[in-house]
């Protein structure tokens, strides 16, 4: 694994698109009735090609932020820009969902009625720029690249959950997105599968320059994957601590036992724990 990773040069600096600027965003649910503030004056800058890990207790409002970027939900005030262009903001509370920002969902959203190959080909088929043959060729190549050869004609229900997640990432990448939005995609996986998924995600990332906005409540996962670590307060969510993870990429699993990793973990776990305790005391619902 190590040798393999060294061969692939990190291309994160080459990414020119997908810089996200979140400016003073507020999200209040149900402004007429019992208003619940999910996001509280959140400001965050994500560079193009950066892996930005959002860590916070369950139900703190991280997903509201992700939904605002993806264009699934509106925001109450503030603005979100991508590469200088406003996605949502004053006069336009809800962004248009688009193929430049693809979400990888918590429980996966592969279409169970389509084979893995058809799933991967879905985005380009919708875009309609290439012929079906070209799309399938590209899809096969991308799947082979991610170690998914031989599963093309299986349905998602026929392969392991780990492989399913990988298919979903490949499906997302087929759209040439600028940003990948991950909503706790590995939450339901066991820790061994998860560690494999982390390395395979990095491997895919090193080959494809995209910005990654990754929500998790797992601190180790966040430090292992991220360039940037954003620790959120419990609801309403707001960045409490932002720090750059100075462990150089490419990384592999030996990072987990490195002294620097342990230091960062110690440095941050108290902050995270404190928020988790607050959230627990407030009785926040999972989700």
């Amino acid at each position: 694994m190590n040798a393999m990773l060294e061969k692939v040069k990190p291309r994160t600096n080459e990414a020119r698109y997908g810089a996200i600027r979140i400016d003073d965003v507020v999200k209040i649910y149900d402004p007429e009735g019992a208003a619940v503030m999910a996001v509280d004056h959140c400001t965050l800058d994500i560079k193009a090609g950066e892996i930005c890990m959002i860590v916070g207790p369950s139900g703190c409002g991280k997903t509201s932020l992700l939904n605002a970027i993806a264009g699934f939900h509106d925001i109450t005030s503030g603005s979100i820009h991508m590469d200088g262009e406003m996605l949502c903001g004053p006069g336009k509370p809800k962004a248009e969902p688009g193929a430049d920002r693809i979400v990888v969902f918590q429980n996966g959203a592969l279409f169970p009625w389509k084979t893995n190959l058809e799933n991967v080909a879905f985005g380009p088929m919708m875009a309609g720029k290439l012929s079906k043959k070209e799309i399938h060729e590209k899809a096969r190549a991308m799947m082979a690249d991610a170690g998914l050869s031989g599963t093309e004609h299986n349905y998602p229900g026929e392969v392991s959950s780990g492989l399913r997640r990988r298919v979903e990432i490949v499906r997302a990448l087929m759209n040439d997105p600028k940003v990948l939005l991950f909503d706790e995609p590995y939450r339901a996986l066991d820790s061994l599968t998860r560690s494999v998924m982390h390395e395979s995600l990095l491997e895919i990332y090193y080959k494809n320059k995209v910005t990654i906005f990754f929500i998790t409540h797992d601190l180790e996962e966040a430090i292992f994957l991220g360039h940037k670590l954003v620790i959120m307060t419990s609801r309403p969510c707001r960045p409490k601590k932002i720090l750059e993870v100075d462990i150089p990429h490419p990384r592999d699993y030996s990072v987990l036992t490195s002294p620097r990793f342990r230091e960062l973990l110690e440095e941050t776990s108290e902050v995270v724990h404190e928020e988790a305790r607050k959230s627990f005391a407030a009785g926040e619902k999972e989700g």
Partner: protein
């Protein structure tokens, strides 16, 4: 290959579960035979079962009926009535259910009416159906149609409404138009519910067709054994042939089982992704 298939078939016939099924049916028949003949054997007949003709007598009558064109006409008529009612229910019910699921406006217009009509048992429609439709054949088909229709609609509606939000969101993000989402998400995601709805609906159509035939007098029945399986049973009762009643009942059982199997096969063909679960 051929050998393989034969051994496979042999294995499935002589497998434990089919052996159990065969034994269970034999035991059932033996108990039935004993019960029916209790008068001869015990001197006094057992309650209920003592009045039922024994299976051996039923089989003899059945053998006779196999050469009777009227009996087969009954099969044909009932099957046609079930099929026409069922197919009409699918053709009208599936699009209606989908439209109710997709359009809130359409739903708010149609759903209350639908919900008032739905609890009315199909058999309560029989008099109206006889008045409404010019021929008895159409009346029976209409009542049969009602039996499947409401079940199909409510299943399609429920299935389409239960589709996970994530599927819409990711399809939308990947550039799907409203039509694409309907064709590539709503429709395939609803197929399993359509399959369930149709198999339940098929069961109801067999219930309904038999009763409708009994009430309406069997439509164009030409002979005592024609006019549909329901009418056949009724006529046998009136004519006092208890063996024929049982033949008619078992015939309906076989017909219902065969149509369920057929639907399972068709359903499996349309939902290949569910096979491996």
């Amino acid at each position: 290959m051929a050998m393989n298939r034969i051994t496979k078939i042999k294995r499935s016939i002589f497998s434990r579960s089919s052996l159990r099924a065969i034994i269970a049916i034999i035991v059932f028949l033996v108990l039935w035979e004993c019960g029916s003949r209790s008068k001869e054997w015990l001197g006094h007949s057992l309650p209920w079962i003592g009045l039922v003709p024994p299976p051996s007598a039923v089989v003899l009558v059945w053998m006779d009926l196999l050469g009777d064109s009227g009996y087969w006409e009954s099969w044909y008529l009932s099957t046609m009535r079930v099929m026409s009612g069922f197919v009409a229910a699918m053709i009208i019910g599936i699009p209606l259910g989908l439209m109710m699921a997709v359009s809130r406006t359409f739903n708010s217009i149609t759903f209350p009416t639908f919900e008032i009509l739905r609890p009315i048992p199909p058999l309560a429609w029989v008099p109206v159906a006889i008045i409404f439709w010019p021929t008895e054949e159409l009346s029976i088909a209409f009542v049969t149609f009602l039996g499947a229709f409401f079940t199909v609609v409510i299943n399609v509606l429920g299935g389409a409404k239960a589709i996970d939000m994530r599927f819409y969101q990711s399809a939308q993000a990947m550039g799907s138009s409203q039509w694409d989402i309907f064709r590539r998400v709503v429709l395939p995601a609803t197929i399993p519910s359509i399959v369930v709805g149709s198999s339940v609906g098929m069961g109801i159509t067999w219930n309904v067709v038999v009763a409708a035939e009994m009430i309406s007098g069997g439509g164009g029945g030409t002979s005592g054994t024609g006019g549909g399986l329901g009418f056949f049973i009724w006529n046998s009762y009136v004519g006092g042939s208890y063996e024929q009643i049982v033949v008619g009942m078992i015939s309906i059982g076989i017909a219902g089982y065969a149509s369920s199997e057929l639907l399972r096969g068709i359903g499996g063909f349309f939902t290949p992704w569910l096979k491996t679960r």
